[in-house]
Symmetry: C2
Subunit: 315 residues, 2 copies
């Protein structure tokens, strides 16, 4: 069994590689829910949905999120009623079906784990999807001005174009790992930290009490993939956030942030020269092609990741 | 100023007649919210929406509810995920824009009155729309089996094909009339009870403390239109409900249920023979063509209604 700690788009791509090289039903994906939000009364879990849609082959490949062939009648109507202020988080018509289902089930008393499994089954997924927690944890970013933004405000509404001074995970202290999360970490042959933002995607998962300790106990078998390639994030604000929070926008910076749990970090070929710095942080470095621009490249990266703990690295 | 107590489709048609014969901005529509429901986390106000869409010329004329030219992507997606059990209340994609807006505003702390006014303005309505109350009142029907159904379960899910033993208006005792409701009743030259179900559409409005008393004080100027024509409801279960609750499915039965507040009842020409029975209930009878199958017929009925308190009746 392989356990994968996941954010959104990067993790979804990593999983599309892993399902090509290992039995999908032996993969447990533990997904960040710090990005979850309530909008218009609906419970929205962006990372869970991105992974579900991607593994189902239903994702919009151009954006990396949402459904392919989506229509936007509800958003158009809402914008006519309430203006652009209400529609910065775009909910497609078919995507709304997912949010209506999730919200209805949660209101009936189902846990997020249960709803996530139901949605995964409805989308035909063989991979087992777990939210990191059934309790609400919310990533909150303090901006340079002193104000606070929830993750989606920061990421979507402001397009992460604001300086961040601190990140906190509201509710994390009181949260418990969702059923199966700790067991998956404990029993996996390899635990993969997907190439997701280490601060705001992997960070919330680690903030759930018990998760970081469980990972640390499996450290030799924990393999991360750097989401920073050539000093830049492939997607999103990971590079800026690392610098703003006192770190470094590099594979070595990622290694330092995650060194407590990471046995091995897979870094891109363009970062080969950073292998020494990664290892100086106490993390084995393995060099591979980490840019998953095609399914074949995702598959090759998955092979490299699964082989990494066995000492296939070049670092 | 004309005040109109409203249910859904019948009231919407009555209003389309009234706006042809009097300044729309001098009409205050007080609308039943006992039908309101929460589905999938969304706050839905069917009667308010039916009236808004109808007055905006945006309603689906075939069904009498929902928007013309609607698409159903969200419902199709929801049905694939959760089955028909979750989609018996059909929410079109553009209609969802209304519910997303309403729910979002209510969550922000706006009152239903405020949201209703905002939606009416966005749809270009000149008529002033008021919910009967900003407090939640829910029509609950006890069925012959002893179970209870909320109004939409009864009306839509079961297509009102179950026997009803009793009706109650949950929350009514603690509710207050929405701002402007009592003033509209007190100050109107004519108060119209639209041809809506007297039990489950007009009944909830009367159950809001203060409304029935305010109407009774204006009784000579209160004119109803019978929703029962020739012993049958033009739409919905008014005829069955009247009988099931111990009354009679006729214009006279309507007069008896509403005799405490009704000065005059406009009955259809086919019910001319019931005028004596209506008057025996203490309610003046006026005979007119009450079937609003065209805008012109709705206009003529509106003229008859507004003339009724002045003694234009034939009863």
């Amino acid at each position: 069994m392989i356990c994968v700690l996941c954010g959104g788009v990067g993790a979804a791509r990593m999983l599309t590689g892993l399902v090509q090289v290992t039995d999908p039903s032996s993969i447990v994906a533990v997904v960040n829910t710090g990005d979850d939000t309530e909008l218009h009364g609906l419970s929205i879990s962006p990372d869970l949905d991105t992974i579900t849609y991607t593994l189902a082959g239903a994702v919009n490949l151009e954006t990396g999120w949402g459904l392919a062939g989506e229509s936007w009648q509800a958003m158009s109507a809402l914008e006519r009623l309430g203006g652009a202020e209400r529609t910065w988080f775009r909910l497609g018509d078919r995507d709304l079906g997912t949010h209506l289902y999730r919200t209805g089930r949660l209101r009936e008393g189902a846990t997020l784990s249960e709803v996530t499994a139901e949605l995964a089954a409805a989308f035909g997924l063989a991979v087992r999807l777990l939210p990191m927690s059934d309790d609400p944890v919310r990533t909150v970013l303090r901006t340079a001005g002193g104000g606070e933004l929830c993750f989606q405000e920061y990421f979507v509404k402001h397009r992460h174009a604001v300086a961040v001074e601190a990140v906190r995970f509201e509710g994390a202290e009181a949260s418990r790992p969702a059923p199966g999360v700790l067991e998956a970490i404990e029993q996996a042959t390899v635990v993969v930290l997907a190439p997701s933002n280490p601060v705001v995607s992997i960070g919330p998962v680690l903030a759930v009490p018990g998760v970081e300790e469980a990972l640390a106990a499996r450290r030799p078998d924990v393999v991360g993939v750097s989401p920073i390639v050539g000093g830049a994030a492939l997607k999103g604000p990971a590079d800026r956030l690392l610098v703003e929070l006192g770190g470094e926008a590099s594979a070595a910076g990622v290694a330092r942030v995650l060194s407590g749990v990471l046995g091995t970090l897979v870094i891109d070929e363009v970062d080969r020269h950073l292998a020494g710095e990664v290892e100086a942080a106490g993390v084995r470095a393995v060099v591979a092609d980490t840019v998953m621009s095609t399914p074949a490249r995702a598959r090759r990266l998955a092979e490299a990741v699964l082989a990494a703990p066995a000492g296939a690295g070049e670092g």
